[in-house]
């Protein structure tokens, strides 16, 4: 079974802090994704990566950056956390470019105070 793990289930940070959210997948998938999920807004794509060191902006990249130094790991970085970034963050992976389903991690609920 594909496994996608996220470094924290719950995280509380202060405004202005730099925040790292880590995601690891164990099935040699090429694509990895970061979403945020807010009530009534569904899943919104922040960034995705289709290869090591390759990234592409999603629908809401402002205030975020990403890093993919190894194929299995995809990090989401909040350079200076703000209260409007309080949300559920979901990581996902898929096999490759093409028509494949995504496999999701359990999510990280981030609260910025």
């Amino acid at each position: 079974d594909v496994k996608v793990t996220q470094s924290s289930r719950y995280l509380v940070k202060r405004t202005g802090e730099k925040v790292f959210l880590e995601c690891v997948q164990d099935m040699d998938h090429e694509n990895m994704f970061w979403y945020r999920q807010d009530p009534g807004l569904g899943l919104r794509l922040i960034y995705f990566s289709y290869d090591v060191k390759m990234k592409e902006k999603g629908d809401i990249p402002e205030g975020y950056s990403v890093s993919r130094e190894k194929k299995e790991r995809f990090s989401l970085i909040l350079e200076s956390a703000s209260t409007n970034q309080t949300s559920m963050y979901l990581c996902a992976s898929s096999k490759s470019l093409g028509l494949y389903e995504q496999y999701f991690g359990p999510g990280t609920r981030l609260t910025v105070t």
Binding site: V4, G42, L90, A92, S96, E101, G105, G107
Partner: protein, 112 residues
């Protein structure tokens, strides 16, 4: 542009009753469609997918979905709902670039 609409934000059904969750899509080419389920506090899990062929597809946990091109719909059904089906359900269309567009989700509540 691709879009997915789930018209029902919240649905309540009694345990044992049948269920239908609606999904409409807008996509320029042949759509490749998915239904995912998210239990409280969890990530999303794939229920079923449609790529081509038979328009009625079977998934896990007794769910099925029917693709209707003429109506641009991909509705999810289950003949008899169990209390454990209470969750949020997402319909999605995948693009050739590997990204997906998700609907806003439908929350299912199951009454005893």
């Amino acid at each position: 542009a691709q879009s997915v609409t789930q018209p029902d934000i919240h649905i309540t059904v009694s345990e044992g009753a049948s269920l239908e969750l609606r999904c409409n899509y807008s996509y320029g080419a042949t759509p490749y469609l998915f239904w995912y389920v998210q239990s409280p506090g969890q990530g999303l899990q794939l229920l079923l997918k449609y790529f081509s062929g038979d328009t009625l597809v079977q998934g896990i946990k007794g769910f099925e979905a029917e693709f209707k091109r003429s109506q641009s719909s991909f509705n999810l059904r289950k003949p008899s709902v169990h209390w454990s089906d209470a969750a949020e359900y997402f319909c999605a269309v995948v693009h050739r670039a590997g990204k997906s567009t998700f609907g806003d989700g439908t929350t299912l509540t199951v009454k005893p």
